[in-house]
């Protein structure tokens, strides 16, 4: 069995008196031939790896592989020690955890792709900050990650989470929607609030390009992670207030698919346009790779 659309998910919930994570978990266990406990253990392992990546990122000052980042998280942490955020502690945590994870990724450190490595800071920063600030127990933490996964899965049926196929909207945008839906669940939102937070999230990142400078997952990717994490929280707060997306969630995903298909390949993870072809980026590229290295390289 499979839930292919958000409409289907809503209908199943109407019929069965179960929570979203229960339904998602049942389907997964059936498809993967796994007992429930084993499935939840695998989710827990992923969650632990996310927490580990944040911890490593917060304590790492190493410059990233492409030498364009790696020391921004520490700046933020130090500044918050002097001058706390005008928002809350939760806001501070989301920004620092997102930066910590995505900087760790750009160092070729160990992270969890969620749904992709370039977007790896978004879901963990939102969820783990909420877990800590709201003191959420282990079981509910696992439930939240299952819901995030289900959202990503349903989106991926129409739009593969790949910058090369549909631009950054499919990577950071999908991650933001996953984080938003799961956060809405943690904050007590019902299925309508969850679906609206997903729709609001995606609607506001349609057409987001993937134009990494020099081909590294650094500029704009690292700093985009905290932005997209807060983007998710904006959607959640609106949806929890009962604000609805005029265009339903499944239609919004259709729009993302169409937009992705219409976007030029030069703006989809090829570094042939956008930020990657700015004057500064071209100068940086020239000083890094020689043409010869780019056309071929071998060890013997």
């Amino acid at each position: 069995m499979q839930i292919n659309t958000f409409e289907e998910l809503k209908n199943i919930l109407k019929k069965e008196n179960k929570e979203i994570y229960e339904i998602a978990q049942e389907i997964e266990c059936q498809n993967l031939c796994l007992p429930k406990e084993d499935f939840r253990k695998l989710i827990k392992k992923t969650l632990d790896a996310m927490k580990e990546a944040i911890k490593n990122g917060l304590n790492n000052l190493q410059i990233t592989n492409g030498k364009m980042g790696g020391q921004d998280c520490i700046k933020l942490v130090k500044n918050y020690q002097k001058a706390p955020s005008v928002f809350s502690k939760l806001f501070e945590k989301i920004l620092t955890y997102a930066l910590a994870t995505s900087e760790e990724n750009a160092r070729m450190g160990k992270i969890v792709a969620c749904p992709t490595a370039g977007a790896c800071g978004i879901v963990p920063s939102v969820l783990i900050s909420l877990f800590e600030e709201l003191e959420i127990d282990d079981e509910k933490q696992i439930n939240a990650l299952i819901i995030a996964g289900l959202i990503g899965k349903i989106i991926s049926f129409k739009v593969k989470p790949s910058g090369a196929i549909a631009g950054c909207q499919a990577e950071c945008g999908t991650a933001s929607a996953m984080a938003a839906g799961a956060a809405a669940y943690l904050l007590g939102g019902n299925i309508n609030a969850i679906l609206n937070s997903i729709a609001l999230c995606i609607k506001n990142i349609l057409g987001l390009t993937c134009d990494p400078v020099r081909g590294f997952v650094e500029v704009p990717c690292i700093k985009r992670n905290p932005f997209m994490a807060i983007h998710a929280m904006t959607a959640v707060e609106l949806a929890l207030a009962g604000i609805e997306s005029v265009i339903p969630t499944d239609d919004v995903i259709d729009a993302m698919e169409q937009t992705g298909a219409l976007m030029s390949p030069s703006l989809k993870e090829s570094s042939l346009a956008g930020l990657a072809k700015t004057k500064t980026a071209i100068i940086m590229s020239k000083s890094c790779f020689t043409k010869r290295y780019y056309s071929e390289h071998s060890n013997k």
């Binding site: 450190g109 792709a113 090829s270």
Partner: protein, 220 residues
């Protein structure tokens, strides 16, 4: 049939920086290594389009090489694979090409030497991959199933011979994908299984249909 799982979305636990361009590359290398089956001595790798343009920054070259050498997506050796002892034992060469007839993230892996083989693959997003060609035969192998891969002479009844042996061992077939160039010529057959098959079954298949190539690859 859509086989994507929640575990595919919130995974893999991997070495960065890109699920499609690093982890996907490692998986392509690993699957290609398993399909080739022989000891790798010399290999030429061609990266296309997005893989070519952003592959070095994303470590796609390092990933493919690490996979070919048998390392997994979360192995921290990937970062330093070019300087590893394992890499120094084989001969490798990377080429970068633009060809929009290919998938944005496509790669050709040419094994050179006594046993030659060409494998074409795509990284389709979030670390998921697809092997699309073996020696110019169309295949669909995603590494999510234990799979039997065969290249055989196209003869009447070869599929039923194979499937009856698989049935005898009480194993369910998830998907079956066969293709031939022309009647009576070589054909490829990829059979994805829901569980692990024993060596005895593979020996029986080999004896029954005498394939030109038989590989059994475990899911990644």
């Amino acid at each position: 049939m859509n086989e994507t799982s929640i575990l595919d979305i919130i995974s893999p636990i991997m070495v960065g920086p890109s699920s499609s361009h690093t982890a996907g590359a490692v998986k392509i290398g690993l699957l290609a290594r398993n399909i080739y089956g022989a000891k790798i001595k010399n290999v030429k790798i061609t990266l296309y389009n997005s893989y070519a343009q952003t592959g070095i920054g994303h470590g796609s070259d390092k990933g493919i090489l690490a996979g070919l050498l048998g390392f997994k997506v979360d192995d921290t050796i990937i970062k330093d694979i070019f300087n590893s002892l394992e890499a120094s034992k084989i001969k490798y060469r990377f080429e970068y090409e633009e060809n929009f007839a290919y998938h944005p993230n496509a790669v050709d892996i040419n094994f050179v030497g006594e046993i030659e083989m060409k494998i074409t693959a795509q990284s389709i997003g979030g670390g998921e991959i697809l092997i699309t060609k073996i020696n110019d035969f169309d295949v669909k192998i995603n590494g999510k199933f234990n799979s039997i891969i065969l290249i055989i002479e196209d003869t009447i009844g070869y599929i039923s011979k194979i499937t009856s042996i698989i049935q005898k061992y009480n194993i369910n077939i998830a998907t079956i994908n066969c293709e031939r160039k022309a009647k009576g010529q070589n054909a490829t057959c990829c059979i994805c299984l829901d569980s692990d098959i024993s060596d005895n079954a593979l020996i029986e298949i080999r004896e029954e249909i005498n394939p030109k190539l038989l590989r059994y690859i475990h899911k990644l």
